[in-house]
Structures are given as C-alpha cells and as structure tokens.
C-alpha cells in the first residue's frame, strides 16, 4: 500500500467510526426522544443553578509547568528524526543531543529552584 492509500484508509476508518456512532444515535432516537420536563437539563451542581459562566470556577494553577512543557515539547520534535539515525551516526549523535538535553535539563533545575513546580 502506498502512503496516500494508507492515509485514505485511515480517513475512511475515522469517517466509518463517526458513521457507526451516528447510526447508534439514530437508533436511540427511534426508540424515543428525551421528554421535556422542567429542571431536567440543569447540569449537576448539587441542585443549585450557577449563574456565572462556569469557566470562572477553575484557575489553571499549573502555568509554571506549562511554560517548561513548551520547551520540552519543542525538543521532542527534534528527538524523533534524531532517534531514527542515531545508530548510524554513533557517538557524535549522543554528544549532540546530550549537550542539547543538558541545557534543557539545566533549565528544568533552574525552574525547580525558582518554584516552578509548585501549585501557584
């Protein structure tokens, strides 16, 4: 199978799965719709309807991690091609990536010393 065919197959599987789910929904619809009753559609909140938009309830206290995460996530983009040619290139590859990782790791240690790994 060529690359294009493989991706087309994957796309077909995604669409097929959506189709199966939609037909399940259709089946459930045939068996009867939800009855309209007052108060039934209130989200679970111990019986009290919250008036504020609910996204105000959560404070993302992990932003210190999130910044470090960006640095590490970028690094992974380089790691995969490096991993494939690693054995071929040999020791130099280990040193190349070692220096890069050491710098990143220093950043991690610095972040730790500055309290990045604390819930803000």
């Amino acid at each position: 199978m060529s690359g294009t065919q493989q991706y087309l197959l994957l796309l077909g599987m995604a669409l097929g799965t959506v189709g199966v789910v939609l037909s399940l929904y259709g089946l459930a619809r045939i068996m009867g719709p939800a009855q309209r009753e007052p108060g039934k559609d209130v989200p679970a909140s111990s019986g009290v309807l919250s008036r504020d938009p609910v996204w105000g309830r959560y404070h993302a206290r992990y932003y210190g991690y999130a910044l470090l995460f960006l640095a590490f996530d970028m690094e992974m983009a380089f790691m995969y091609p490096w991993a494939v040619v690693y054995k071929e290139v040999g020791m130099v590859a280990l040193l190349d990536m070692g220096v890069f990782l050491a710098i990143l790791f220093l950043g991690l240690l610095y972040g730790w010393s500055q309290g990045a790994f604390r819930r803000q």
């Binding site: 799965t17 989200p43 679970a44 309830r57 995460f69 996530d73 992974m76 040999g90 790994f117």
Partner: protein
C-alpha cells in the same frame, strides 16, 4: 479484510475488558453484562444540558472513539495483520493520542456544568504531567529499532524484548499510559468521589454509552501500544503471532485495571510534581542509557 479482523479484535478486547472490570467490582462473572448495559443505555433518555456548547458536547465522545480506533489502526497484531503500516507509525500514534486531551476538554467545556468544566481543565494539567513520559520512552524504542515503523519496532525485539532492554522506559510508559487513559488512580477528570463523575457527569443515554465504549477502547489501544513497544509484539513460541499479540495486550490491560483497583486517586498537584521532578529526569536517563547500550553492545 484486515480492517475487519483488527476492528473485531479491538471490539472483542473491549468487551472482555468490560466483563473483567465488572468481575473485579461486583465479584460476578457475567459475560452478557456489557451488552445489556449498552442496550439499556440505548433505551434511556440522552439529555442535553440547558446551555451547552453543542458542537463540543456532541463531538467529544465521537472524537475519543475515533482517536482510539485510529491509534489501533497503526499497531500490528501480526507481521501482516496491520491496517496501515505507516512510515511514521510511532509518531502517528502520538499525534492521535494528543486528541484524547482535546476530546476530554471538549467534554468538560461542552455541557457548561461546573464539575465537568473542572474535570476538563484538570486533564490539561494531567497532560502536562504525563505527555513527556509517553513521547520520551518511545524515542528510546525508536533509537533501538532505527525506525518509526511499528512493524520494524517489533522486529527489532526478536532477540530481546524492550521490557528487558529498557525496563525504566517500560515502567514510565506504563504509568503514563494509565494517566493518558485516565484510569484509576489517575482518573482525575472523572473522579467519582470528588467531582461527581466530572466529564462523564452530563452525559446520559446513548452518548454515555459511546463515551464508555471509547474509554474502554482507549485502554485496549494503549495496552496494544505497550505490547508493540515493549513486550515484543507478536513474538513468542508455539502459538501463532496474532494470539501472542492479543494475550499480551489483554494482560497489560488487565494489569492496568488491577493497579488502579488497589491504589488511591492521586492529587493533580502531586501527579505533576512527581512526573516533572522524578519522571522526566528518569526518562532522560533512560534515553542516555539506551544510547550507550546501542553503541557499546553491537
């Protein structure tokens, strides 16, 4: 044909897992229970909350299921029993699994309910904790195989399985896989005890059935990924390759359930702290150890 066999294996494993999970929680072994439960969900009302983000609310369960199925599509059950043996298979599965986060946040945001919303954002914190522990161990696996093709990764383990070659990577990947599938003790977004179901809370009827099926399928996909990357995939004596793949996948999935059954739920702050202070340095050490092993041992 291959598509049908793999999908059937996926569905069968999910069913078996549901039976085993029921066995572990109720003490009764009832093979028909998942079927009855699914049919009952089909007949129940599927309520939409009063001010939903309708697109997110509807898309979340479907997206989670699609992600699990696509992840399975690039994992081999046997040398020729694989739907799409992509040139970048190990990368594709990462890309697919990244959408688990998107689906869970959609499920949290969509219904406009406080518990669901908190569950969804919690999972974003959980992603920041586990995600590096998924990608870094896979890098070490790819280093040994010199390839991102999943069948090549399995072939590279013909002599020695990766669980022996890089045990540190296996442990990290296993834990991260449990966190990715949000199974107990990492079930922060659904946390029955403190969030009343979290992202599951607002889903009822057929939508809940799809969401539950998606979660079970996700566990099977991740167990299959663990098998392919660390347990030598289809390699094994006597039995045919596909049987080995299935047995190993189920064993990993059941051990995930077992671990979750005997551990208390971990706090989000603790999870992130341990993953970054201990997990990521260990993952880097794993890459360096594997790198040295590859160069020293021919």
């Amino acid at each position: 044909m291959t598509v049908a066999i793999v999908l059937l294996a996926l569905l069968g494993s999910a069913w078996l897992l549901a039976v085993i999970e029921g066995w572990m929680t109720t003490g009764r072994l009832s093979p028909a229970a998942p079927l009855y439960s699914g049919l009952a969900h089909l007949g129940r009302e599927s309520i939409v909350p009063r001010s939903p983000d309708r697109v997110f609310f509807e898309a979340a369960p479907v997206l989670l299921l699609v992600v699990a199925v696509l992840g399975m599509a690039v994992l081999p059950l046997a040398p020729d029993l694989i739907i799409a043996d992509l040139g970048t298979g190990a990368l594709f599965i990462n890309a697919a699994l990244a959408y688990v986060l998107v689906a869970v946040i959609m499920a949290g945001w969509g219904p406009d309910g406080a518990y669901a919303m908190i569950g969804g954002w919690r999972f974003l914190g959980q992603l920041i904790a586990y995600s590096m522990l998924i990608v870094m161990p896979i890098t070490a696996v790819a280093m040994r195989a010199e390839s991102l093709v999943n069948t090549a990764i399995v072939s590279s383990q013909a002599g020695l399985w990766n669980i022996v070659y890089q045990p540190l990577g296996f442990v990290l990947f296993f834990i991260a896989a449990m966190a990715l599938a949000f199974r107990a003790p990492f079930d922060l977004p659904t946390a029955e005890g403190d969030l009343g179901g979290g992202v599951d809370a607002e889903y009822t009827g057929v939508r809940l059935a799809v969401l539950r099926l998606a979660r079970l399928t996700l566990v099977v996909t991740l167990a299959s990924a663990t098998t392919v990357f660390y347990l030598g995939g289809w390699h094994g004596p006597l039995f045919p390759p596909w049987a080995w793949s299935l047995v190993k996948t189920l064993a990993v999935a059941v051990s995930m359930l077992l671990v979750g059954r005997y551990l208390p739920r971990i706090r989000e702050a603790d999870l992130m702290r341990w993953c970054w202070i201990l997990g990521i340095p260990l993952a880097l050490v794993n890459i360096i150890i594997v790198g040295l092993l590859i160069l020293v041992v021919p």
